[in-house]
Amino acid sequence: MAGWKVQGGSGSLLLNLILLLLLASSFTLSASDLAVDLMLGFNGFIKLGSRAPVSVSLMNSGKGISGELKLELQQGSLFQQELYTVTYSRKIELPANSRKRYSFVLPFESFTLPLRVSITSMDRKIFEREIDLKQHFSRDQLILVLSRRISLDFLKALSAKPARVIYPHPEYLPESWCGYEGVDLLVLHDISLAHIRPVQVRAIEEWLYCGGRLVITGGVHILSRDNSPIEELLPVELLGIEVLDRPGALELPEKLAFVNSRLISGKVLFGEEDTPLIVRQKRGKGFVFFMAFNSSEAPLSGWPGKIALWQQMISRESTGPYPDHGIEEKRGDGELLLTGLVKNSELNYPPHRVLLGFLLGYLGLQLLLIGGSLLKKRRPALKWLLVMALSFLFSASGYYLFNQLLFREETALISLAVIEPSWQQELAQVKGELAIISSHDRDYQLRIANKDTAVTQWLPGHKLKPAYSFEVRRQSDAVALIVRMGELRARYFRLDSVIDLPIGGEIQKGEGTVTLRVENGSSFTISGAVLVGRGSIFKIGALPPGVTKITTGPFLPDPAADSTAAPALSLKEIYGSNLQERGGLESGMKEALLASLTGRELADIMIIGWIKEPVPAIETEGSFLKRQNISLVYLPINSGEGF
């Protein structure tokens, strides 16, 4: 929407707010006693093919309302008239004369179909409206700037691709990490964020962990006492405003006011003696840049190095010595690991030769019993009973035999995940997959413990049908996934989340040996853990919660220094023989997870282990005859950081 885009370089924040208010008022969808304001994306801007926040503000001037707020997105093929609906819902409680805001994060994959917003109270729809999405979409890169002034519009010219610079109000920032999915860069430009909520800060932290890029610039306002919420995001400890006299690092012939700070962690890219001026810190797969000065104000407004500096921070190539060892995420139509798993030969039906043996055995014995001379002409009732007993015996054994040979359940819930924590850091990115296999035409409600879990559906073979509809119901501390199987037999979902998984320790080099100390600070037991690197392997074993393990092994040769170092062990070599011996579904799942790592660029030193609990935890309503969960923990250790 053109009116949402703020052009020009010298407006004020007040103007920005007025525009926002105008924007919001244009979306006021009044009902008799209920007014609904909608804020789509960032200032109405949604990046095509990514998730974006949606804020729904409700103003109730009548009696108290208790009901459900629903946002429905239709997906699928409009041309083929095969659409399915994804519903995002929340319970709402609006006392008389009250105002509340509800935040959602929706995946906007298409703009051809409208977003439907409805409110139901006491089984009656009290509000319903369709929002045309066409005017909100763009393919441009998205740079979010939280600033008091509109002073960073020049950034759009620095990006390699067409970009938009958006100045959202902090109040509308997403409360979930996945709301930032479409954001390429977030800039906190010398601003006091006194009113930003902790949940919003946490969302930024988690987004950084998943690969986000944040720039925090210094100035007077960042030192505000009320700015404590963003301390968590800073790689430095702020000390106060000081003045540098002609800083050589910046080749600036004038005095420069800057925010003096002390490095907590990260790398100082530019500094003046012990004073960090520009700091880069790696957070999971993402980066935080701290700039100790305001580059848009004098004397740096005309500084020639400004362009190069910002270009480096915007550019993905600026990671320098921090290669991203995160496992490449398969997106879009890529197959799931679970579909690979069910393709596994272990999960085939019993072969014809087994059936033939069973049939010949049964027919042969019945032939002997019925046609033979056994009990001839005497005690016919006994013969009846024997024939029937044989039949029952083969019935039971056949049912047991074929069930044992096959992965087949009337209802099964299978979940697997790749968990990527960071050495010495507390969060971990979880890329999960979930399969519901059922013959029953009924609703299944799965309660996923992490409320910020992003749920997307994978459609086998692009068979888009209304039957693929599902609902994601946001609860206070969880997200409920509601699916109806109908005539479908299997449904697959991706579950992306960020969890607390503090794992750390240290590696000490000794005389030809290396001692590894690993501490599992999480609530999960990591089993079968190994350290793999440079052709060597340390067995760590099980790591229960809160346990520290110390393992000593041979020295890991440095491939840069020792060209004769053994090639990296294949993961199959590590676990292969063990898995083949065990067989079964769990081994198949482990193989599928390991196979997903092969062929990708992995860290030269890494810890691999398994978590058997579902991550995040999944509670089910209704019984599943079979539940199987396994997660692969992949913990890359960069030699520059770990040891």
Binding site: T339, V342, K343, S345, L347, N348, Y349, P350, H352, L355, L356, F358, L359, Y362, L363, Q366, L367, I370, G371, K376, K377, P380, A381, K383, W384, V387, M388, S391, F392, F394, S395, A396, G398, Y399, F402, N403, L406, F407, R408, E409, E410, I437, S439, H440, D441, P460, G461, K463, G486, E487, L488, R489, A490
Partner: protein, 240 residues
């Protein structure tokens, strides 16, 4: 079993070679069908298309058709006409009453149909084990096959009583009865078609339809039984 009619039936059904051949043919045909419909594709192939193999549905329909074919002919004593006492002989030469004769025939038909169904259980359960159906759906399928087969059996008994000495007409009417019972309802009244119901095993509408179908057949059995009773009474009256 003290009932002479049941005892006679047990002797004939177990020691007459022609009847024993029926068992073997029955088992052999079902075994071949199960082998042919056993899934050759992988598990994923079926999940990808959101379905399970139809092995159970096919084998249960095959059981229904074969069992109905043999039941209606066994009911009409096509295979063992000369080995059984005729109804007139039972009524005239023994102290057996018409009600006892009818009861004996019904009991014999019930247990023999159950016996034939039991013979096919290993095939049905093998099919079930890969078809993703619940055990309750299996029970309902068995109920449908059993009631339909028993109905065929009693229809055979009835037709044999009516057309005792006219073998060609009897054969024709047996076949026509089977065709009328199974073929037209598939398209005209699928809710009461045993074949359509078995094919839909696993779908949401399966259970109530199966229950409805079973009740329908049980009612038919009762009606046929009453009709048969009157025919016997008529035969007795004519004899004396």
């Amino acid at each position: 079993m003290k009932d002479p009619i049941v005892q006679e039936g047990m002797q004939i059904y177990f020691y007459l070679n022609r009847i024993r051949n029926i068992y073997f043919h029955y088992l052999l045909i079902l075994a071949v069908i199960l082998f042919l419909v056993w899934p050759g594709q992988s598990f994923y192939y079926y999940l990808d298309f959101n379905r399970h193999p139809l092995s159970f549905q096919i084998i249960s329909i095959a059981t229904l058709i074969i069992l109905s074919f043999y039941s209606i002919r066994l009911g009409a004593q096509v295979y063992s006409h000369e080995d059984f006492h005729t109804m007139a002989e039972w009524l005239n030469l023994t102290p057996t009453t018409a009600a006892a004769l009818l009861w004996g025939k019904i009991v014999l038909s019930f247990f023999h149909t159950l016996f034939l169904l039991t013979l096919s259980l290993p095939f049905l359960l093998a099919g079930l084990s890969i078809s993703g159906l619940s055990i309750s759906e299996f029970y309902f399928s068995l109920l449908v096959v059993f009631t339909a087969s028993l109905t065929c059996r009693i229809i055979g008994l009835l037709l044999a009583a009516i057309l005792a000495e006219r073998s060609f007409l009897l054969e024709l009417s047996l076949m026509l009865s089977l065709i009328i019972l199974y073929i037209p309802p598939i398209s005209l009244f699928p809710q009461a078609s045993a074949i359509a119901i078995l094919l839909n095993a696993g779908r949401s509408s399966f259970f109530p339809v199966a229950a409805f179908f079973s009740v329908l057949f049980l009612t038919a059995i009762v009606l046929v039984r009453v009709r048969f009773y009157f025919i016997i009474l008529k035969a007795r009256k004519e004899t004396f």
